[in-house]
């Protein structure tokens, strides 16, 4: 019997302390590739959350009947099945988003964050905590993608959710929506996250 506080703590762990992107550095390909705007980041985050929660639920139910040696292929097939569902749903109901995310939707199959949560948590815990853990990880992932997408969209296009936020005088920093900008923006955000985690403040001290 798990009490509710522990469910909350499983959820919270994935959100900040073990944030999949900033702390564990997992799932880098979609993180860098689709975050040219907040909306794309949100869509990729939600699709990944759906897959990790569904796959973790199934994995925690069937882990006792799956022989150890074949567990990786079994989980890979389960993940690939849910990714196919997510891909078909995106294609049918959100064609522009599906177009924007392109081949990175099927790449959710090999997002190491998903296999990581299944191996490290879902196969060793009951269904309830496994869902909480997967939801927390998915939320942490979605949050990180939206922050990165936000920074890149604001600087690279001068927009947020497609709406212009600077006057017409703003010259977009084109580099931020190009591949090089993705690496640099994520590197800088990661350093900021490390700085804040270590108890640093956002206000720079003046050099003495």
């Amino acid at each position: 019997m798990k009490s509710s506080p522990s469910i909350v703590s499983h959820f919270g762990a994935g959100l900040i302390k073990n944030n999949p992107v900033f702390v564990q550095v997992l799932g880098m390909c979609p993180t860098l590739a689709v975050t040219t705007s907040v909306a794309n980041g949100l869509a990729m985050g939600l699709a990944t959350t759906f897959v990790v929660v569904s796959a973790a639920t199934i994995a925690s139910i069937i882990n006792r009947i799956v022989p150890g040696q074949v567990r990786i292929p079994v989980y890979a097939v389960i993940i690939a099945t849910f990714v196919t569902i997510a891909d078909l749903v995106l294609k049918a109901f959100f064609p522009p988003l599906s177009e924007a995310l392109g081949p990175y939707v099927p790449l959710i199959v090999v997002n190491c964050m998903i296999m990581g949560r299944i191996e490290a948590f879902a196969t060793r815990n009951a269904v309830g905590p496994s869902i909480a853990d997967a939801l927390g990880t998915g939320a942490g992932f979605t949050g990180a993608l939206m922050v990165l997408g936000g920074v890149r969209e604001i600087l690279g296009s001068g927009e947020l959710f497609g709406a212009a936020i600077f006057g017409s005088g703003y010259t977009p920093m084109l580099i931020m929506i190009l591949p090089a900008g993705a690496f640099i923006a994520l590197g800088l955000l990661m350093a900021l996250f490390n700085h804040l985690q270590a108890g640093g403040s956002l206000i720079l001290r003046k050099a003495a």
Binding site: P106, P179, A180, G187, A191, H195
Partner: protein, 192 residues
């Protein structure tokens, strides 16, 4: 000529790591030393070339012919997982010296998104069989190039005085950004 274009695009213009962002996990994880970066690159190139051939056959001879495109992802991931397993057993048996160098990298490759990406892109671009193989090989060479350059830079970074919050993955990503900037110079070399 056509094969050279496919090769150049895969290696330089649309470099897998620096343009498509696939294979970032090994790119960051295994790029601390040049030696292991070279081994990882060779292992990836080898598996990518085989994957391109195998998934081309599956896609064109089975999935398209029998109208089963929704099985694409499931069958690709199974093909890649079994291919890696098979390559591992084959090398262990026939080339023990090579196995010693590549051994620990092979299982990691199953979850390397760059491999699945080769399969998806060759299907999307509707390459012919030989083009597909050249593309898989080129993608592997491009990955090797990127990871070896990265390892060379990181060996120098070891002695650099990096501010605490930037240590580890953060500075590696920024260096990768500068590399990607340099590779942007190849845009327009070949019209894709």
């Amino acid at each position: 000529m056509e094969f050279i274009a496919v090769l150049l695009v895969a290696v330089l213009v649309n470099n897998f790591v620096l343009y498509y962002f696939v294979g970032i996990c090994p790119f960051i994880g295994v790029s601390k030393q040049i030696d292991s970066a070279v081994s990882m690159g060779i292992a990836v190139t080898f598996v990518m070339t085989l994957t391109a051939a195998a998934t081309w056959l599956i896609n064109n001879l089975v999935l398209i012919r029998f109208g089963l495109p929704f099985l694409e992802y499931v069958s690709y991931i199974l093909v890649i997982a079994s291919l890696v397993q098979f390559v591992e057993m084959f090398i262990k048996k026939t080339l023990p010296a090579l196995y010693k160098t590549l051994g620990i990298f092979l299982p990691l490759i199953t979850t390397n998104c760059a491999i699945l990406f080769v399969a998806l892109i060759q299907a999307m671009r509707e390459y012919e069989f030989l083009q597909s193989i050249v593309f898989g090989f080129g993608a592997g060479v491009g990955f090797t190039l990127a990871i070896v350059i990265m390892a060379g830079i990181r060996e120098q970074l070891e002695t650099a005085d990096i501010p605490r919050p930037f240590q580890g993955a953060a500075v590696t990503l920024i260096v990768a950004g500068v590399l990607a900037l340099a590779f942007m110079g190849f845009t327009g070399l070949v019209s894709a």
